[in-house]
């Protein structure tokens, strides 16, 4: 009896393991099942319902774009909300179970695209009309090894310093364009009674703005830095390299009391409020935060534009970096349903052509495609356009950087004095190595 029981228990365990392994391997290693070459010349279907995994942070202009497409095409867009603060994780979670939408809104940088194995899982959109209309802002995103998988409508984010004009005037200084100037300005701003630079490190990503997205702009022309790290010809922990230097700037600002005392726990909302109210002179954030400044000013855009400015800042050159956003970037996953795949491609075709201009006008963004012209932009939006349109602007350093997902914690560890710049960079290099190995 006992022997039989033990035997059957072993059998049950073995069966469970076998079932688990079978289920797992069947669900996870299946890869794509859709067609490799979608006929984009055929007449697009109508009356189709398309699921769209979208970021809950989508602007009203994007939501209006979806509605406009529904009206124009006769198809229905079924929006699946994915929370903006954990967007990539939410997509990864659903994606890894084999679930697929008909249209995916997602980050179009090469590292993020690789994480979804787009070469196997997405429909090749290279032959679509929008590819010919892509400007430099769009060309740097949405494609892998010369194949276009995504349409990037914008807004593209640019990274710069938001400053309170009155506070800087009272301190007798102008907006710094490099970190040497910024360090020198700290004492004058402090003497004027304001916090020189506010960092919302509690939200993690603002901690990356100074040492990464802005400082590194000088070193990533044509994505050279990210590619060199990816190829292994450059190490992020090179003691004389720019990444260590950027972290050193953050460390110097922290130790010289240039930053707010609660930099480790304050959030990006706190940063916007502090600069808007003048308790802090500057904060370094993506241009996406223009909207938050307008919100802080109760929608009085003219008042906000007269109080707040946005300028480029980098290690030395005073240039900005930019990166494409998940917002307004669309991919067509291979689902095996050619009717829906064709309808999804029709969606891409429509939003990049017929519907694009009205979207650009409503969103007040710099267009990434030549199928629309830029609307008249004023104030902070005009500042953003200046930064994005500069021929010196470079692609953000993270676009091709393997293991970038750990950089936020690395920057915070320096921000709170938990790690030295070199120690933090050494730790980051191990994450880079892990990511490179995972991609092989």
């Amino acid at each position: 009896m006992n022997i039989r029981f033990r035997h059957s228990r072993r059998l049950a365990l073995a069966s469970a393991a076998a079932v688990s392994a079978t289920v797992l391997l069947a669900s996870c290693s299946g890869g794509s099942s859709g067609s490799d070459a979608l006929d984009l010349t055929s007449t697009p279907p109508t009356g189709v319902t398309l699921t769209l995994w979208h970021n809950t942070g989508d602007s009203p202009a994007l939501l209006d774009l979806y509605k406009a497409y529904e009206k124009a095409s006769g198809n229905t867009i079924d929006l699946v909300d994915l929370p903006s603060d954990t967007f990539t994780n939410a997509v990864q979670t659903k994606w890894s179970t084999g679930d697929r939408p008909d249209i995916l809104e997602y980050l179009p940088t090469s590292q993020d695209m690789l994480q979804l194995n787009m070469a196997e899982n997405m429909v090749d959109l290279s032959s679509m009309d929008f590819v010919k209309a892509e400007g430099s802002l769009a060309q740097s995103a949405g494609s892998l090894n010369g194949t276009t998988y995504g349409a990037v409508l914008g807004p593209n984010a640019t990274y710069g310093v938001f400053y309170n004009k009155k506070v800087l005037a009272e301190a007798g200084i102008s907006a710094p364009t490099n970190y040497t100037e910024l360090e020198a300005d700290c004492s004058a701003i402090s003497a004027a009674g304001a916090t020189p630079v506010f960092v919302g490190g509690g939200s993690e990503f603002p901690a990356m703005m100074i040492p990464g997205f802005t400082y590194m702009a000088d070193f990533n022309q044509n994505d050279s830095y990210g590619q060199a790290v990816k190829n292994g010809t450059t190490k992020v922990n090179d003691p004389s390299g720019p990444l260590v230097a950027g972290l050193t700037v953050l460390d110097t600002l922290r130790s010289s009391n240039c930053l707010n005392g609660d930099a480790a726990t304050a959030t990006f909302d706190d940063a916007v409020q502090a600069v808007f109210t003048g308790s802090a002179a500057m904060t370094v954030l993506p241009s996406d935060f223009i909207t938050q400044f307008y919100t802080a000013g109760n929608g009085d855009t003219a008042a906000v534009d007269s109080a707040i400015g946005l300028g480029a800042i980098s290690a030395q050159k005073g240039i900005a970096s930019y990166s494409p956003n998940a917002y307004g970037s669309y991919f067509v996953p291979k689902t095996g349903d050619t009717t829906k795949e064709r309808a999804a491609a029709d969606f891409i075709q429509w939003v990049t052509s017929t519907g694009y201009q009205s979207y650009v006008d409503e969103a007040k963004i710099v267009p990434t495609l030549s199928t629309a012209t830029a609307p008249d932009l004023t104030g902070l939006s005009a500042d953003m356009k200046t930064l994005l349109s500069s021929p010196d602007a470079t692609l953000a350093f993270n676009s091709s950087l393997p293991g970038f997902g750990n950089y936020g914690k690395i920057a915070v560890s320096v921000l709170v004095g938990q790690a030295t710049p070199q120690g933090a960079a050494d730790q980051f290099q191990t994450f880079v190595d892990q990511a490179i190995a995972a991609q092989q």
């Binding site: 469970a16 391997l25 990864q92 304050a266 914690k409 915070v412 995972a438």
Partner: protein
């Protein structure tokens, strides 16, 4: 299988003998015995049907995921490729060399110890204070149980606001120390301790109830005898109540320690594993690895949590149960 009341009154060996006699008698009884056997078999099947939902739930939501997680821990499974390859212990060695496994395990153990101590000390103290059921104590019992009912995320956000540099705690301290400004959750030294305290505060109400039940189940005559013998309150607690609370102590210790190994929500709402990696418990590390498309290493970390629970819980329960017997 189950003992009748008559069986229970017999020594174990006698009950076994009685059952074998009954089996022999049934065999000898022929067709009538077969009918009884069928009835007994039917009763067993009937019980199995009742157990089936629980078995199915455990199988689908625990056993299969657990086995699957174990298998995936030894594979290279990433978002970068559609192929899953077995790679032996590579995930574990990689996580070790990255410093993630050692650090996250250490932080998890420290966090669990802090929460266990906080919950049991606070819970036992409150249980002693609120042991007797009267109107006032019932109000306070309900009051202290409220945090248990609050969402862990909400609890985390509330405490993050209280502990913020410009929050009410610093405001209160500033009344006595003007200009006091300390980033409680922003310092690696204080963040882990405080997050542990917050989690402990959150669940102390539950532990309190278990201890109250334990205290009230102690035979009053034993305590009264000690009172008559002149034993002080502390002596009664140390020599009588605490030893006789052993079953409640076992339950609370294991529950609080093992439960804290898989904590994530409170930590995510307060520090997100930061500052830096000061509060990065294993589940935070799982989340971070997963978010980068490294599903195999993420599974390996999850597997570590399961191992940690088993390695800790089994000997702990064994030791505490022995203590119960001694008590």
């Amino acid at each position: 299988m189950t003992l009748t009341k008559a069986d229970e009154s017999l020594p174990a060996g006698a009950a076994r003998d009685d059952r074998s006699h009954r089996r022999a008698a049934l065999k000898a009884a022929g067709p009538r015995g077969s009918a009884r056997r069928r009835r007994t078999g039917g009763r067993k099947t009937y019980r199995l049907w009742f157990a089936l939902p629980a078995i199915a739930l455990v199988a689908f939501f625990f056993a299969i995921p657990f086995v699957a997680n174990g298998i995936l821990s030894f594979t290279k499974w990433t978002g970068f490729s559609s192929v899953i390859r077995f790679t032996g212990f590579d995930n574990f060695t990689s996580l070790m060399s990255l410093g993630i496994l050692g650090h996250a395990t250490l932080v998890t153990v420290l966090f669990a110890l802090i929460t266990m101590v906080v919950q049991n000390v606070v819970g036992l103290s409150l249980a002693k204070a609120l042991q007797h059921t009267d109107r006032v104590n019932s109000v306070f019992r309900s009051l202290f149980f409220i945090p248990v009912l609050i969402s862990p995320l909400a609890a985390g956000y509330i405490w993050a606001a209280i502990l913020a540099p410009n929050g009410p705690l610093n405001g209160f301290i500033s009344l006595f120390v003007p200009g006091f400004d300390f980033s409680w959750l922003g310092q690696p030294s204080s963040a882990l301790l405080l997050v542990g305290f917050i989690d402990g505060w959150k669940w102390s109400g539950l532990v309190t109830l278990v201890y109250i039940a334990g205290l009230n189940s102690i035979n009053r005559s034993v305590v009264e005898a000690a009172v008559l013998d002149g034993a002080s309150g502390w002596r009664r607690f140390r020599s009588i109540e605490f030893p006789l609370l052993a079953p409640a102590f076992t339950f609370n210790t294991v529950l609080t320690l093992v439960g804290s190994f898989s904590a994530l929500d409170v930590i995510f709402a307060t520090t997100k594993g930061g500052p830096g990696d000061a509060t990065s418990v294993l589940n935070v590390a799982v989340f971070n690895q997963y978010g980068q498309g490294l599903f195999g290493t993420s599974s390996a970390l999850s597997f570590m949590i399961a191992l940690l629970v088993m390695i800790t819980a089994v000997p702990l329960i064994w030791w505490l149960r022995r203590r119960e017997v001694h008590a």
